[in-house]
Symmetry: D2
Subunit: 337 residues, 4 copies
């Protein structure tokens, strides 16, 4: 923690800051300059809010100099994390595709999707059974029945399953059917949920909140990891900005940024990232070109009649085309897909 | 739902849209213009996502023309809602103040706060026992013990209590000690929680998410109300923008906007809205001037040593000054405070 | 400038940073800590971009510790600036209202407006003769002819005139007819224009850009003041955010923030700040409650037929009501209006 | 223009809207539904602000159904525009690279850059002679002398030149030395400048403003094209969001969006798009993968001592690596680079 005192701050004010830093476990170095006195506080993990010091009398500004996350930081595992589930490795040289419908709707739909997804070389099927919907009047998902259908379809096609957990009370049913638990964007700061999935030994796909900074995403990962569950994958799925042509603005740069700051695998979601079917292919290519370890995309046998998110869902034909294009891009960056 | 077809859209494409609208329960009016065919679909509640139609072949654009919320809408109760708890009325001519620390820390602290709050004429004490914190290493709240201390202090001073519920499993303990359940900004779209508090007959203070639109806030209120709990109060507490001088950008205009769109009482939170102690007074005045029915502010006997949010917490002296200023502004807009 | 070196940064890397700071005129203090070496550089005005240091090898992060603006800073004139034009004082105890149409349209319109504005106690008439319009096909303003009509109408009613200059080549014609030159939001970083109005001895009303930070607004003021023109007034007129119900999000907190950081008078513009006629009154009240020294609002004899910005323009009746309400709020904060 | 009347709107209110639409040159179709009356107005170019109708009594909402731009629209030239300058074609199968320093600093620097740029296969050299700088105390560019040096260096190496025009009074000097005039992000809505470059027959590189929507960018292009200058190239260079790790958030999706909406060539600028040297390579790859027709990047012989923007400037070695990677990605999408 670096605290810069105002010009003319009194010794009492400076001492009060020093006392507070010491009481919080910091070792303090004082540097008296021509215009400003600067206090450097060194502590174990720097989770204090700089604003708390800036509110003190005589303080000009305050900056954190140690990351507030530790386990999620690249320093913790410089070589990078590879999440291994059976034969599938996420975070290694192969770019992994997770594909499937927004919601599981019925047996026929999910069986058809599983076939397409497996045929085109994706390794993981996505599909929601518990759906967070903005309106209480919208379709809320099939629940456990949907999970069963998806598990059966995945098994028949040699696929893994990723599905969203909306609430910690849903964990028991989710872990029975799903290989990866997805924590959705709206729950990125549902700290009770993060803590509970942190107690599991089951991989977690953590999606960035629509207004979460990269630092907040890494802190959310830290919550999970501080419970002992290190198999966390992060996902960029678009942030909210002033631009309304796309549903969200996909922050593609977050992919290389997070690969630098953290050792965790990074997935791109061009379906939610753009909200528009016609943008999924170019943004899937861009994600892989920028260094993504995997893709999460929505595909449905008949997107125009999907019960949710049809606008951002690929047809089987478009999905086939995407996989071809993604393979070409992966090869261009020295990977496979 | 208004669907505008592209110039040159074929009859088959137009018919496909009509068929889909009809299958969703809409009555469709077709208007063929020189350049565009426009389809107007009328249905009970318009919760479809316009993007789903925009993804169909031949469609240029699509707009919703009926609000996706009904119970939260001003039409539902044109005269406005007054939430009554004992002798306290929120939404009436009196501007209600809810004040207290970010977190309950110990008996001495909460007793001191309760006295100050009551002395200055506030009617409701706030205080967190379960704290959502960005870092897993930060203070997470005292839990039930904190609620007990707060209830006792409030009772001794004739105050009501508002406290945050982070998770639906915390509801039983919260309703035992708290008069109003607060749903925090990070949980505004925790739909399971919304649904569960909707089943209660206990007033709810629902805070706007930092990146939630006004429409999304009203939809979140609709979730609660659709369960039968109509005693919902809304709260503007700042949104996330590019400006970093303040912690959030307080969207003061949301106060009169929501008073127009909805019948629910509207509270301003200048502590979270700005994140800076020196801005709470002017923004409390601005909130009341803009039409707020109440204020939610943080006050602590010694904010510089508060365990959380000290930077945005008033000292007792500043709180006293705020109450005087707020009374003057309330009088200027024909209310009391 | 504070430069924090990475853990494990080499002496050569540290020395390279020191050398660069010294070459830029900074005096450098080095503080070697357990984890990080911190370099504090003190220079006259700190206009370096911290990112330039962060790109150097071995550097963890860099922060500016001296404001990049000097003349616009509150320290420069702790007592505050009052801009005096004839008998009108902006920045003193009286809250000054500037009102008029978006565009001057014809003699009849501007004469009617001038009468209303003067009758209700406003002291300055606004009106555009050169209009920045997003579309090349929209009405672009009457030019000099419009300025003549406005000057005549203002003179007949004892009003001052404020009008926008879009380009430095328009300065000669503007200064002939206008008492205050407005630099619009889109031109807040038109540095050639800022430099040229800085050479004048004519008051300038500088509007915040829709995506400008408070610091950038103060730097834009510094451009003007560095030319010797100290009569600068700043204006909050809404920033661009994700919320679309209002045209912009009015950052009311910027009013007290700028009053603290700077000595310059601060004006609120609830017309552009919200883009909606029905929100102008509450946001005018909020602006004055938050400490604004003046208001800038659009009024037109018949806003529904205004040639531009009708949606955010008051009718004469609404303007009359606004002035009454603003007077009540001004009194509540110890001022007149 | 589609106008949706409120439930219960009177005939007089509906007629007033019809009258206004007709007076503005629209042909109006009225469709009376169960809940809402909808008025469809068809006119030549739809540049009206929907908010102006929404402010009228009885109106619920209003939507524009015809693009406000015509010449910039894909419909105007479905096959796409190729800007040809000598042997260089922008918008064709070859991805064109424009590279060079932020500012021209001296002969030695610009000669070195020109050599590197040409050696690596870029065809156009960028370099600023007139610099828009946030602070009045920062380096403001070499002016005409800088242009001369750049022209000479470019000619010696068979390169074209692109340089920024900040103000219409600089046009005469710019067109003497530069093959492409760049209109910078801060000037995207400097309408006088747009109009003046529209009178030239010289290609223009128009950069998106940091808070400009895609529609506003296309309207700015329309300004230029409406003057008869159709050789316009557009550039995505990052927008302002809440994320602060990067200087801007590069809206990569804007590349395929604009390729769909418009026929104009689209350039990606990963230097300004991210503000960080270490992100330029991945984001250059992502831009080309997403469909960019060209790249604009900053390169300098010694970026750590560049007079501006060093943090986002490549070293010669990094530039060489970027060109290799970009060639691989271009090949993967069926293009050359």
């Amino acid at each position: 923690m670096l605290v810069v005192m105002q010009q003319g701050a009194t010794d009492e004010q400076t001492q009060a800051v020093i006392d507070r830093l010491v009481s919080l476990g910091f070792t303090v170095h004082r540097s008296t300059g021509v215009m400003h006195t600067v206090l450097g506080g060194v502590g174990p993990v720097d989770e204090m809010d700089p604003a708390d010091f800036e509110a003190m009398d005589g303080v000009k500004e305050c900056h954190r100099i140690v990351s507030p996350y530790k386990l999620a930081s690249r320093h913790f595992r410089p070589q990078g994390t590879i999440v291994k589930i059976g034969k599938v490795e996420i975070g290694g040289p192969h770019v992994v595709t997770m594909a499937g419908p927004c919601s599981v709707e019925n047996r026929d739909q999910i069986e058809k999707v599983a076939e397409i997804v497996a045929q085109q070389g994706a390794q993981i099927m996505r599909g929601g059974a518990f759906k967070p919907r903005s309106s209480p009047y919208s379709f809320q998902g099939m629940g456990e029945e949907g999970l069963k259908l998806m598990r059966a379809a995945a098994d028949r096609n040699g696929l893994l399953v990723v599905s969203e957990v909306m609430d910690h009370t849903q964990i028991p049913v989710l872990i029975e059917y799903s290989d990866i638990l997805q924590v959705g964007a709206r729950n990125m700061q549902n700290f009770n949920l993060l803590r509970e999935v942190g107690k599991l030994r089951k991989p977690v796909l953590l999606k960035r909140g629509i207004s979460a900074t990269i630092e907040e995403l890494l802190l959310a990962a830290e919550y999970i990891m501080s419970g002992g569950n290190y198999d966390v994958m992060l996902c960029e799925r678009g942030i909210r900005t002033f631009e309304t042509y796309t549903r969200n603005t996909m922050d593609v740069a977050a992919i290389p940024v997070i690969k630098k700051l953290s050792h965790l695998p990074m997935i791109g979601d061009p379906s939610h990232g753009t909200g528009r079917r016609d943008l999924i292919l170019p943004m899937a290519r861009a994600s892989v070109a920028a260094g993504a370890d995997g893709l999460l995309v929505e595909v449905h046998p008949d997107p125009d009649h999907a019960m949710s998110d049809g606008a951002q869902t690929l047809t089987p034909g478009q999905f086939t085309e995407m996989m071809q294009q993604v393979r070409a891009i992966a090869a261009a960056v020295g990977r496979t897909a």
